[in-house]
Symmetry: C2
Subunit: 464 residues, 2 copies
């Protein structure tokens, strides 16, 4: 049961314990983030100095806070956390985000401090995210507890569950500033003293705002429960996981990171796969696949058609699909082949993948790619289409409306665009396509890697 | 023997047979390319209409050309090539680039045309690149026979040998407009009727302008000879190969592309590896690895140190290095570890890979990364260093001189930079670092993939 997680994700009142008037300090930037996101609940600040911060009254002590605040964000040194929780609990606060590091991930002294917190949790029944978390985010509630300068976080339907603070810090800045997609809920688990992955996963499984869950974990605190929840969830929503610490060296680095020992990895891998969780190995795939999923439907299967201005690209990418990515490059229906042949010079024998250069030279890039994509999108053997657009100064940037239009008229098949040619035209094409819902990728291999991940998600969803 | 290839790469006089006054036609754009690159030899144009093109006199017939021109670029329909070669041979021209497609890659009629060319080659002893080639380039001689609008091609020391025209067309535009690196010789082999890969490889092995060879092939015409040449060459220069058609579906696409049947691939793979040729599977690696190699030394080995603002990135990348890329993430000397510890808060235990965020927050990004990189660059266990720079608006773009300076003071160890954080700062950092010799990469995994390729090149070079 995800008992009472609503107070984390939909708090009506929040207290910042350790509020600071000094810009760039965590106790200050957390307030800025909350304000920047338009949080509509009541916000209380606590600092012994009192006064005002950013126009808000500061309470000198926790004892002066009103009763019944939903959530406290504690931004104090590790050693001061226990007393702060006790004081807050005395005012009826039951939910906490503990930002400080310096607990079990550090040394024996930190481990003892963490045990003291565990004791308080047992005694009082409070719920805790962290310690050692850079916070969590809930855009449907316009709320974040992150202390890293984020500004406004765009809302969307991708959720992150992570044993790392990255998705509340620089990786979230990457996602926001690259305009990749909006998020629903983001949880940095920190040391997982209380709240751990399986309970959050359960919350996300029931969360109507969450359409896909991207997970980074170095250890599982309750593997059996996680697998149970995942096994149900993955039939309805994609769950993509990067499990850190799969190698001995990686596991050593993980211990340095979160002090969490990783489970026997091979055993776990098999169980996760059986539960429909799709594993990835590249950190970047945690946002590239999310971007594709935020803008396009999940592919119905693993059969891809692609169009490129180069035989070598067609050959190399076909090899990559078949050899490494578990994607099929299917033969097309006869009618589709005839259609492609009609738009092409007779000297080239048209098929899937589609060599589009001759047609582009004859009838123009937009006509060639437009007609070619229409044909393969209509082919029942094809689940997804990747146009590799040739964009060079001499031919100029064609009007790309046709791709947006094709995406609209084929809502069941994802289209991922990528490019070959001139840098400035590629950037123009990106900035025309992305805001209109067509995801683009820098290197020609990326859309196929992403498709491979999402085709596995579909397979997991359809498993018996 | 690479008999007489000098006339391809250093022609003192060139004739364009099929010169055109119409912009965007191949017979026109090839002239523009030759002029744009500052070709210093004599240039003759032939077209029955006579007159002038781009200020140059046009000869109505081949028969009117002066004797002894080094090279003819023939841009005529397939069926007109045989007569053109005979006419040119009659004027003493011995070297040809044949641009037209429509030969054996198309149909039986094309195959007969190609046989006719083969017969002429046997009779006359002329040398031919193509047919079905988009041309070749030789920047030391400021010459290109490409008919794709390229503009000036920057000179450098990377050479391409390719059974595809991409490196004379849109991929070359990609390389040029992204400012990736300069090239020395580029050969699009086309149908390989005469000149094939082993002879070009031999030329490149002896070419002082070529420091590394990147190869795309779908078939080997003389596998034994290619392996002999490669086995010698790879001890002195890196040879990186993408072999297209490794899978059945890929091979089918290759037949559609160049009509060349691929050799038994597994057998060939082993032989190529033994000959020191390093295989890659991603087309993009043919320019990303080249970029790294153009700006940085070949790594002495496969041991990488990296610095990131995130424990999760450290863990995930360590797994990727060990699990997939054949890279080691070695332990550091004690002195190095002490040095890292001194710049970091005591709560984090410093090691390789290097968690740099705490130090960056304490002493600034440039000081933290600067000192950290210096320490790992000085460590004898480390062959290459990848800084993953955290760049976010709140911290601003630090002066990046320290990275350029570190690269200068550690000329034996490659540094590849990548980023996490804000898009505009990442772009600024790229445009500061790249022109000053430090290669940068968009996604954090790319420098490791590139390092994996180049470490294998070093291993090949050092093999017994």
């Amino acid at each position: 049961m995800s008992r009472g997680l609503e107070k984390f994700f939909e708090p009506e009142s929040v207290a910042v314990i350790g509020a600071s008037a000094t810009p760039h300090k965590a106790g200050h930037d957390v307030i800025r983030n909350i304000l920047a996101n338009g949080y509509a609940g009541r916000l209380y600040l606590v600092n012994p100095k009192g006064g005002e911060i950013l126009g808000l009254k500061v309470y000198p002590t926790v004892e002066e806070l009103p009763e019944g605040i939903d959530l406290a964000i504690v931004i104090l040194p590790a050693s001061a956390n226990a007393a702060a929780i006790r004081a807050c609990a005395g005012r009826g606060i039951s939910h906490f985000v503990l930002a400080a590091g310096g607990f079990s991930e550090v040394d024996e002294g930190g481990r003892r401090l963490e045990e003291e917190l565990a004791e308080i949790i047992r005694e009082t029944g409070v719920r805790v995210i962290g310690p050692n978390t850079s916070g969590h985010t809930s855009t449907p509630h316009r709320f974040t507890s992150s202390f890293f300068p984020l500004g406004r976080i765009p809302p969307g339907h991708i959720s992150y569950l992570a044993q790392t603070g990255n998705f509340a810090t620089h990786t979230m800045r990457y996602i926001i500033t690259h305009g990749l997609f909006g998020v629903a809920r983001v949880v940095g688990l920190g040391n997982k003293l209380d709240l751990e992955e399986s309970e959050v996963l359960e919350y996300l499984s029931q969360d109507p705002e969450t359409r896909a869950v991207f997970v980074y974990l170095e250890s599982l605190k309750r593997p059996r429960r996680f697998l149970e929840v995942a096994a149900q969830l993955t039939r309805r929503k994609p769950v993509v996981l990067l499990k850190g610490g799969r190698t001995q060296a990686g596991a050593r680095a993980a211990v340095a990171h979160t002090a969490a020992l990783s489970a026997d990895d091979r055993l776990l891998s098999g169980a996760l796969r059986q539960a429909g969780v799709v594993s990835v190995e590249k950190y970047s795939h945690l946002f590239l696949a999310a971007k594709a999923l935020a803008r396009m439907p999940l592919p119905r299967g693993n059969r891809v058609s692609f169009l490129a201005p180069s035989g070598a690209m067609l050959v190399a990418l076909t090899d990559l699909c078949q050899n490494r990515l578990g994607l099929e490059v299917p033969a097309l229906e006869d009618a589709s082949r005839r259609g492609l042949q009609e738009m092409s010079p007779p000297y080239i024998r048209m098929r899937n993948p589609v060599d589009i250069w001759p047609a582009a030279l004859m009838i123009g890039i937009d006509a060639a790619y437009g007609q070619g994509m229409e044909i393969v999108l209509n082919d029942p053997n094809v689940d997804a289409v990747v146009p590799i657009l040739m964009l060079t100064a001499d031919f100029g940037l064609p009007p790309l409306d046709f791709i947006v239009d094709l995406a609209r008229r084929h809502p069941e098949k994802p289209i991922y665009a990528t490019f070959s040619g001139d840098k400035d035209l590629m950037e123009q094409a990106r900035s025309e396509l992305e805001p209109r819902g067509v995801p683009t990728f820098s290197l020609i291999e990326e859309p196929f890697e992403v498709l491979s991940i999402l085709a596995r998600c579909r397979q997991a969803m359809a498993r018996p």
